[in-house]
Subunit: 393 residues, 2 copies
């Protein structure tokens, strides 16, 4: 394709760049930045949960005690004390830990290291949109793994389905977009599958700490340490603006990921890594995460309560046990993309479900986030959505 | 290739990842981290140039006045006031400016947006090793553009050489590794070439501010604003540990780069962008850069003086007018990689020249950095290298 229309000199883009289409949703959602819009669309953590004062103190300490090191280039693998802290938290070797510029970069590096054009890549149905965006730059052939209301169905991972796959990508905890948590029996089955599989299972776990009741379920990593690639992040439990995530992987893959990262951004900013370490090293997360859980859990209850009162018959949704999202299924004839247009006209926003599917997608699903909007606005926004739906039924 | 030797389950890597070989140099240079080694290898700015106190104040201000915003997700394009500051400095439209996670990420994004497997990519002879690493992940076919002691030869850019190229990558100012600065007449010729070319010229300019005498030469961007993609960074004039670079590009390419960046790391950390803006907005760089120039210029003179006194006949080097590097040519029969082994045994290090060539490379060149090592150690290290060479001649 020649881009002489828009580019002064008709510069030629790569095939992968030509496939990067402007998301209709992204354009629509730009309007949700207007302050009058009640947006259930974003996955933005509530700024009320950011430990601003400890961060300010940590930044001051780092830049007073070690400015030369904090402002200098540093190792591609990440800041060693932070890697050691992560390794200890997971009970893994420090040589398995790579600090990434947010979890999104982990997805890009895994695409770089593992995907050739046309490689089969297994994903949940639906799956995380941001992962599809990252992987797609490396032009895989997606295979959708069947799911039900509790997540991925391990028995569906037959040789016929998984033949030639480079990896299986999954979010067992409070999946984005569905909020589903994979039950313990399925975790055991998936870990066993990973142990016998010629490709890794990638366990993306941004929301694992945000369980609202009872004990967290064990990670796949803890069940099959040498066969799982585990992705974590400080974005949901500390602050996303730091852009600090990490990959726990067996050393051979770790080494390839380090080489790929060196070519990608040399290293994650030294300053933010040191600030994050200063903040977490004395156990702040153990005090802080329960506060986040309590806040989000209450907002989740508010939204569930509002849905029960305002949604007309025929609309279904799940009751998340953690995380940030509720997944809604509308009656089959209602298109959630069209509904979004109408909702935005009334200053309410959400994300339609279709873009979260790697292949064929139903048009009647949507994702609601309950973490960004305060409770009174949750009630108001859900009431408006309910009214809109009643008008259409 | 099956990796069952090292990977528990024989996981298959991508073709591009298999080509990521462990650099012999990288392994050797790990030993240069020993404190007793005088390393002319690294391109690390002197920590003495980091404005630690203004950074500490800026970090405190940002985290006191706007913690919610500074710690939150933010726009892929970058922090708007910082983009406006950059746009004003270059006299370009803010819509052309994308903030990147260091300049290294700019190279990765350009590879993503412009290179298909086998695409011809034009590079200088030699060229920046880090650019080769980034671009190579997208599997281009490199074409080496002839150079002389003053850099790229514009008259060599014939239709036969440039046929089908996706871009020409150049560092006109104090190139890494040679330290060469492209003369004004060649800049004019290269800008004219860009204006008539069906592909962009990428002007990577990390060292432009570090000119040691006289006026800086005009950028290619200033000569052909719609036909140049300009890369800049705060790493050499502020602090590399922030990982803040930027791309100035025509809007159509800018838009593709934004989409690619969204899939790559969502956005550059909000906190570091806001700190950088706080530090530079009141003109700190205009006061600070002359101090860096003075320090590096003196260290450059120290190294040139030491080379003149210690190098045996037959060794040649250039006199850089700025930047961080001196390029050394040894007598033809001396292999700089072998010399490095011997030098490290005597606790001196440098980077051999061969890895900076995209194709056939001479074995008798090397790069010396004069910015990291203090003057007394420069003298001692160069004396040791001179002694080593005398033993071999």
């Amino acid at each position: 394709m020649n881009l002489s229309d828009s580019q002064p000199s008709g510069w030629q883009f790569s095939q992968r760049a030509l496939k990067l289409t402007s998301s209709a949703i992204r354009e629509i959602l730009k309007v949700t930045e207007r302050p009058e819009v009640i947006s259930f669309a974003g996955g933005l953590p509530s700024p009320a949960t950011f430990p601003a004062e400890p961060m300010r103190e940590a930044a001051g300490r780092v830049l007073r005690d070690a400015p030369g090191a904090a402002l200098q280039y540093s190792a591609t693998e990440g800041y060693l004390p932070l890697r050691e802290w992560i390794a200890a938290r997971y009970g893994v070797r420090v040589g398995q830990v790579l600090v990434t510029t947010g979890s999104q970069q982990a997805l890009d590096l895994l695409g770089k290291a593992l995907i050739d054009p046309g490689s089969p890549v297994l994903v949940e149905t639906p799956t995380y949109l941001g992962a599809l965006q990252s992987f797609s730059l490396y032009e895989p052939s997606y295979v959708q793994v069947p799911t039900d209301g509790h997540g991925l169905l391990p028995e569906s991972l037959t040789p016929a389905l998984t033949q030639g796959a480079r990896f299986l990508y999954a979010q067992p905890n409070f999946q984005n977009p569905t909020g589903r948590r994979l039950p313990i029996e399925r975790r055991r089955a998936l870990a066993a599958f990973a142990q016998g599989s010629p490709f890794p299972v990638i366990e993306d776990d941004p929301y694992g700490a945000l369980n609202y009741a009872g004990e967290p379920l064990p990670t796949l990593l803890s069940m099959a340490p040498d066969h799982i690639v585990h992705l974590g992040t400080f974005s949901k439990v500390l602050a996303p603006g730091l852009r600090i995530g990490y990959i726990v992987a067996p050393e051979a893959l770790h080494f390839k990921l380090v080489q790929a990262k060196q070519a990608t951004d040399l290293h994650t900013p030294t300053l933010t890594q040191r600030i994050a370490f200063e903040v977490v090293k004395d156990g702040l997360l153990d005090r802080h995460i329960p506060e986040i859980r309590q806040l989000y859990s209450a907002q989740c209850d508010t939204m569930l309560d509002a849905l029960a009162r305002h949604m007309p018959e025929g609309v279904r949704w799940n009751r998340p046990e953690g995380g940030m999202f509720i997944w809604v299924e509308l009656p089959a004839h209602i298109d959630s993309l069209q509904l979004l247009d109408a909702a935005i006209a009334r200053n309410v926003a959400f994300v339609p479900g279709a873009p979260f599917f790697a292949g064929s997608a139903p048009s009647n699903t949507l994702r609601l986030s309950f973490v960004t909007v305060p409770p009174a606005k949750i009630e108001e926004g859900v009431a408006k959505l309910g009214q809109l739906l009643r008008e259409r039924l």
